[in-house]
C-alpha cells in the first residue's frame, strides 16, 4: 500500500513537474565590452547577485553582451524574444542601443527596462514606449540639481566641456534652459572625444571666457582629463561634474585634482552617509554589501545599481502578474507590463519609484543627492538638491 502511494506521488510530481518548472525567463543585453564596458561590467556582475526565485517562481537570467553596438543589441533582443521567449528584457547600458531596442520590445510585446540615462528612451510616451521603462535618473533631474546648486553658490557664468557625442549633446540641451532660467550665462561650450589624449585647446578657450564655474559633461575616467588640464593651467573657479563619473576609477585617475568638485548622483553612491530616516539607505546598503563581498571592497559603481533596480521593479511586478497569467505566455508579458506600470512607492537603490501611464521612470527628488569629493572620497552635501 505504502508503495502504491509512493508510486502515485512520484507519478504526480512527474506529471505536475513541467507545469511547475516553467521558469520566468529574463533576458539581459548589456555592454560587457566596447566603449561602455565600464558601465556594462558592473551590471553583468550585479546580475550574478540577483535572486533565482521571485514570488515562488524560478527565475532564469540570460545575459548577452552587445559590445556597446546597436546592431548587436537589436540582434540580442530579437534572439531573446523569439528563441528564448523571455518574459522581460533588461538593457542596454547606453542610450543609442536602448533607443533601438524600443522597436523590438514593442514588436515582440515584451516589457523592456533600460539601464541607460536619456529621457528620450521613455518620452514622449507613445504606443511603442508603452513597453519601455527606465531605471536610471533622467539627465533633466540631475541638470536641474546642478543649476540650483550653481545659483545658490552665486555662479554667474559657466564654461561647458562635454563629450563630443550623445552624452555631451544630451547634457548641453538639458542644462542650457535650466541655467538660463536661473540667470546663469553659458560663457563657452567646448567638446572633446572620450579617446582624446589632450584637451589643452578646449581648456584654453574656456579659460579665455573667464567663467565662475566649469561643468564637465563626461562619463567615467575620461571626464578626469579636462579637470586635470584645467588645474594644470591654474583655473581657480568651481568645478562641476555629472553623475556619469560616479565610480571608484574616476577618483583613482583624477587624484587630488578632483578635490572640491560638486556633482549630482544617485543616493546609492553615498548610501552609508544617508540619514537613517532615508528609505533608500537600507536597500542601497544591502546591495553595496552583497556586491563588495563578491567583487572586493570599493568596487561598487552606481551603474551596477541600475541593474539591481531593474530586478527590484520586476520582483515587485512579477507576483502581481502571476495572478493573471502563466510565465512564457503573451498574456503574462502583458500582465507584467501593466504590473510595472502600476508600481507605487517601490524603494530601490537609487530612489523611490511610482510609475504612471505617462511616466515610465517614476522618480522624484529622492532619486538624487548632491555630492562633493573630499580627501579622495564621495561626501554627501545634502539629501535633496
Amino acid at each position: 500500500m505504502k508503495r502504491i502511494v509512493r508510486a502515485l506521488a512520484l507519478a504526480g510530481t512527474v506529471l505536475a513537474g513541467p507545469v511547475l518548472a516553467q521558469p520566468i525567463k529574463i533576458g539581459v543585453t548589456i555592454a560587457k565590452t566596447g566603449p561602455a564596458a565600464s558601465l556594462g561590467i558592473p551590471q553583468a556582475n550585479t546580475v550574478t547577485l540577483l535572486p533565482t526565485e521571485i514570488g515562488g517562481q524560478k527565475v532564469e537570467w540570460i545575459v548577452l553582451d552587445d559590445a556597446t553596438d546597436t546592431t548587436k543589441g537589436v540582434a540580442n533582443a530579437r534572439k531573446l524574444a523569439s528563441d528564448d521567449k523571455v518574459d522581460a528584457i533588461v538593457g542596454s547600458s547606453v542610450t543609442p542601443v536602448s533607443l533601438a531596442l524600443i522597436e523590438v520590445a514593442a514588436e515582440a510585446k515584451v516589457p523592456l527596462i533600460s539601464l541607460a540615462a536619456s529621457s528620450k528612451i521613455v518620452a514622449p510616451m507613445d504606443d511603442k514606449r508603452r513597453w519601455v521603462f527606465k531605471a536610471p535618473q533622467n539627465d533633466a533631474l540631475m541638470a536641474e540639481a546642478i543649476a540650483a546648486h550653481m545659483a545658490k553658490a552665486g555662479v554667474k557664468s559657466v564654461g561647458f566641456i562635454g563629450f563630443n557625442d550623445a552624452y555631451g549633446d544630451g547634457w548641453l540641451s538639458e542644462v542650457t534652459p535650466r541655467l538660463e532660467a536661473k540667470g546663469i550665462k553659458l560663457a563657452a561650450t567646448e567638446r572633446y572625444a572620450r579617446t582624446d589624449t589632450s584637451v589643452t585647446g578646449q581648456v584654453l578657450k574656456v579659460m579665455a571666457a573667464r567663467p565662475d564655474a566649469v561643468l564637465i559633461a563626461g562619463s567615467g575616467t575620461p571626464a578626469a582629463l579636462p579637470q586635470k588640464t584645467l588645474k594644470e593651467r591654474g583655473y581657480a573657479g568651481k568645478y562641476y561634474q555629472t553623475h556619469g563619473v560616479a565610480n571608484a576609477d574616476f577618483l583613482r585617475v583624477g587624484g587630488k585634482d578632483l578635490e572640491g568638485t560638486v556633482l549630482p548622483a544617485g543616493p546609492l553612491l553615498v548610501a552609508e552617509q544617508l540619514p537613517e530616516s532615508n528609505p533608500v539607505r537600507k536597500v542601497a546598503l544591502d546591495y553595496t554589501k552583497a556586491y563588495e563581498a563578491k567583487f572586493g571592497a570599493g568596487s561598487l559603481a552606481t551603474f551596477g545599481g541600475h541593474a539591481y533596480d531593474a530586478e527590484v521593479m520586476l520582483a515587485n511586478a512579477i507576483p502581481v502578474a502571476l495572478k493573471t497569467a502563466k510565465p512564457g505566455t503573451p498574456e503574462f508579458r502583458a500582465a507584467l507590463r501593466d504590473a510595472i506600470e502600476g508600481l507605487k512607492e517601490v524603494v530601490y537603490t537609487n530612489g523611490v519609484v511610482t510609475m504612471t501611464p505617462t511616466d515610465h521612470v517614476g522618480q522624484d527628488d529622492r532619486a538624487r543627492v548632491m555630492v562633493t569629493i573630499e580627501n579622495g572620497k564621495w561626501k554627501l552635501l545634502s539629501a535633496t538638491n
Partner: protein
Amino acid sequence: MDATILLLLLQDGVVNGAIYALIALSLVLVFTVTRVILIPQGEFVAYGALTLASLEAGTLPGTVPLLLGLGGLAFLADCAEARHTLDGRTLLRLGARDLALPAVVALAAWLLAPMKPGLVVEILLTLAIVTPMGGFLHAVAFRPLAHASVLVLLIASVGVHLALTGLGLVFFGAEGSRTPPLSDASFPAGPLLVSGQSLWMIGLTLAIIVALWLFFSRTLLGKALIATAVNRLGARLMGIAPSLAGRLSFSVAAFIGALSGVLIAPLTTVYYDTGFLIGLKGFVAAIIGGLASYPAAAAAAILVGIIESVASFEASAFKEVIVFMAIIPVLLWRSLRSAPIEDEE
C-alpha cells in the same frame, strides 16, 4: 587667440606630435622591412603604459601571461619553420629565445612587482615585457604570410590589432590609468611652463630618429634590413635571412611603442583602446612621409600634433575631422606626383 595662447597650443602640439612621431617612425620601419602596415603599433603603446601602471600599483600585469603564451606559440612556429634542419642545438637556441627569455622576464616581474621597486626598474621591466612581444607576434602571425600581398598582410594586421585590444580589456579593465611623471621639474620659458616630462619626450624622439638613421646608414645589419625591404630574394641570395629582418623590425617597433606608452602615461589617461587613435594619427604622419622617410614622417607628426591642438581650440567639435582630413591633400599630391605601379612585387 592671442600670442600666449598660440604659444601654449604650439607647445601642446609639439609634445603630442612627439608621440605621433615615435609611432610614425616604427610604422615606417616595419613597413619598409616587411611591407606590413603595423596597426597593432598602438596596442604596444597602450600595453606599455598600462603595464607600467600595473607595476606601479604593485600588481602583476596581465601582459606577463600573454608574453609567456606568445613565447610558447612562437616556439612552435619557429620549430615548424626550422623543421628540416631541426637539431639539438637549434632547438636549444629557439628554446632559449622563445621560452627561457620570457620565463626570466616573467619571473622577474613576479618577484619585483609586489616590492614596488621604483620607477626606473618598473620602466625597464615594462620594456622587457612588451618588447619581445613584437618578435613573437611576427613569428606567429606575419612570418607565415611573408610572401603574401600587402593587402593580406594588412588584413592580418587588423586581426592582430583586434585580438590585442580585446586582450587589453581583459587584462586592464575598461577604466584607464595614469602614472607619475618621469621628472617633476618644470622650467619657465616666457609665458610657457616647460615640464621635464615634455623635454624627455622630445629628447627621446630625437634620439630615436638619430639612432634609426645611424643604424640604417652606418651598420651592416641596418643595411641588410634595407636590402631585404628592397628585394627579398636578392637579399636572401646575399645570405640575409628575411625572417630575421622581420623579427628584428617588429621587436624594435614594439620597443618604441612601449617607450611611447611609458612617456605618454603621465600626461594623459591611457585606456585599453587608446592606442588605436594614437596609432591612426601616427599613421597619418607616416603616410605624409610616404611610408619611407623617417625625417619627413617625424616632421609630419609634429605638424599633425599642431593641427590637432589648434583645431581643438578653434573648433573642438570638429577636431578629429580636421586632423584626419589633413591626409586627403597629401594623398592627392602623392598620387599626382608618382607614376602608377602595375605590380608591387
